[in-house]
């Protein structure tokens, strides 16, 4: 006779130490094995899209920072590229280079948070603090340039709010020189640690077809084996002037597309970003950064979809303008919003401890999910 076991519903969140923000995961458990995961979002919904309709074009930029607050430069870049295409402005070369440097520094900072919290979720607390110690140095670089550490309002339509700080280049070189050994040390401490590998390899395997069908982008898609990066495949800004590879998941420690691959792709991406920054600093032209900022921003009627490779995936802005000074409609394709849908697929059949490991590897930011 079969023992009557009924399933236990466990609510993880919205206030939970490791859900990276206000996300509620409703897990139906059979013993410790997960049968269904229902994410409930909307706790951090601040109606970004409604705000855009009453703000002028430049006033929307501080709001874009607050969506993915760990990669604010990337958000601003996406929005500003879209509006510049609408207006048909061509920004000076120096602005493009500074934007690339800032976006890549932001990618390293955001990946450091992703890797640090992932280690903390699995239980290793020390790498979390090492990552944040390195991230502080990047935030200081942002602070001397535009004054803010997290929400910058630095990339404007047609240029930048400030030019680079005089000793920005020296400090960035110093940061890169000290960051490389730290990265190697992090690998020794966490990446190749047997317990970490046991906890993450072959956990939450994402096959390539389901990834494409679910519209997954960013490190998660690359970890499943597809070499797809907007900086190379749909080049924007001056990314075509630098040579850098796109790290792809290779199933070194388990199968292709498991949580360890997603983690390791982010580590490799940081090394690539360092290469880009070094080349960008070497070829940094000079010029004025505020020359192309238009006084009156009134784009023609029309709609445009601009997209940028953010640390979490493809961030797209669908901007509809009706010819007035404020956008008629701005729809944001947030990478975390799309990547979160896969949680149910990934977590089925795993244990409760694995949900934390998988959620950490998916790396979502709730500000971006709920907008």
């Amino acid at each position: 006779m079969s023992i009557k076991t009924e399933e236990m519903v466990l609510n993880m969140g919205p206030q939970h130490p490791s859900t990276h923000g206000v996300l509620r995961l409703e897990l139906t458990l059979d013993g410790e094995i997960i049968t269904k995961v229902v994410p409930h979002i909307g706790y951090l919904h601040r109606c970004f899209e409604k705000h855009c309709e009453v703000m002028t074009y430049p006033q929307v930029i501080p709001y874009t920072d607050r969506m993915d607050y760990l990669a604010a430069m990337g958000n601003e870049l996406g929005y500003v590229i879209g509006v510049e295409k609408l207006l048909g402005i061509q920004v000076p070369e120096r602005v493009e280079y500074i934007r690339v440097i800032m976006a890549e520094l932001q990618r390293i900072a955001s990946h450091l948070v992703a890797i640090g919290t992932y280690g903390a979720d699995i239980g290793a607390f020390t790498p979390f603090l090492y990552c944040f110690r390195d991230r502080e140095r990047i935030l200081n670089l942002f602070e001397i340039t535009c004054g803010a550490r997290l929400l910058y309002n630095y990339i404007w339509i047609g240029g930048l709010s400030h030019d680079l700080h005089p000793d920005f280049v020296r400090l960035t070189k110093e940061f890169i020189r000290e960051f490389k050994p730290n990265l190697k040390e992090l690998n020794n401490l966490l990446t190749f640690n047997k317990i970490f590998i046991d906890r993450t390899a072959n956990v939450g395997i994402l096959p390539l077809e389901t990834a494409i069908n679910f519209g997954i982008t960013g490190p998660m898609l690359r970890a499943s084996g597809l070499k797809w990066d907007l900086r190379k495949d749909d080049t924007y800004s001056v990314y075509d002037k630098f040579d850098f590879e796109i790290p792809v998941g290779s199933g070194k420690m388990g199968t292709v597309g498991d949580s360890w691959d997603r983690y390791y792709v982010r580590v490799l991406e940081m090394e690539e970003s360092i290469k880009i920054i070094e080349q960008a600093i070497a070829q940094l032209p000079d010029g004025d950064v505020t020359s192309a900022i238009p006084k009156k921003i009134k784009p023609p009627v029309g709609h445009i979809y601009s997209r940028v490779e953010n640390p979490r995936g493809e961030l797209g802005y669908f901007i509809v303008s009706d010819g007035s000074t404020s956008p008629f409609r701005v729809k944001v394709r947030a990478p975390s919003f799309v990547n979160l849908q896969i949680m149910d697929e990934l977590c089925r059949g795993h244990l409760v401890a694995d949900v934390i490991a998988i959620l950490g590897s998916v790396d979502i930011v709730l500000g971006e999910v709920d907008r």
């Binding site: 930029i61 501080p62 709001y63 110690r133 004054g147 700080h165 020794n188």
Partner: protein, 176 residues
Amino acid sequence: MKEYFNNIFTALLTIFVGMKVTLRHLFTPSVTIQYPDVKILLPERERNRLYVNMDDCIGCDQCARACPVNCIEIETVKSLPGEDLGKTSNGKKKALWVTKFTIDFAKCCYCQLCVFPCPTECIYMTDVYEFSEYDRNNLIYNFATLTEEQRLEKIENFRKFSEEKEKQKSQAQKSE
């Protein structure tokens, strides 16, 4: 069988490698500072609390329009022709009495959009970041320099002045 011993070997090896890393960090000097006693010197472009230099402010309302969250409120009263309101630092003649200039720092999002359009650069961001309050209303800073009765007096003068002008205009129309 081989995989069994390989597991044990890699486990022990990686644990000892990890321990070597943390041991080395045990003796590296710490990067943190003791905040209340030691304070970091902030860079000069720091964006924390706004400050408005009132004798340069000509009440042009540019900053209030540029602010995305409308946290700046300005009320101005036209000055009578005779009155002399003094000059701003860069020599521009002031024509408006700024009777009310409040910034609500509970709403301000520190985006610095108000600093750039100001013609006389009288509004700028300082690096003061320790200004938390117990009551939210204390965060509404009033920068206007006129006292309460001066404010009323200015409004009063302007109302009288505009009435006289109305009378003169109506007489002028009657006389035509």
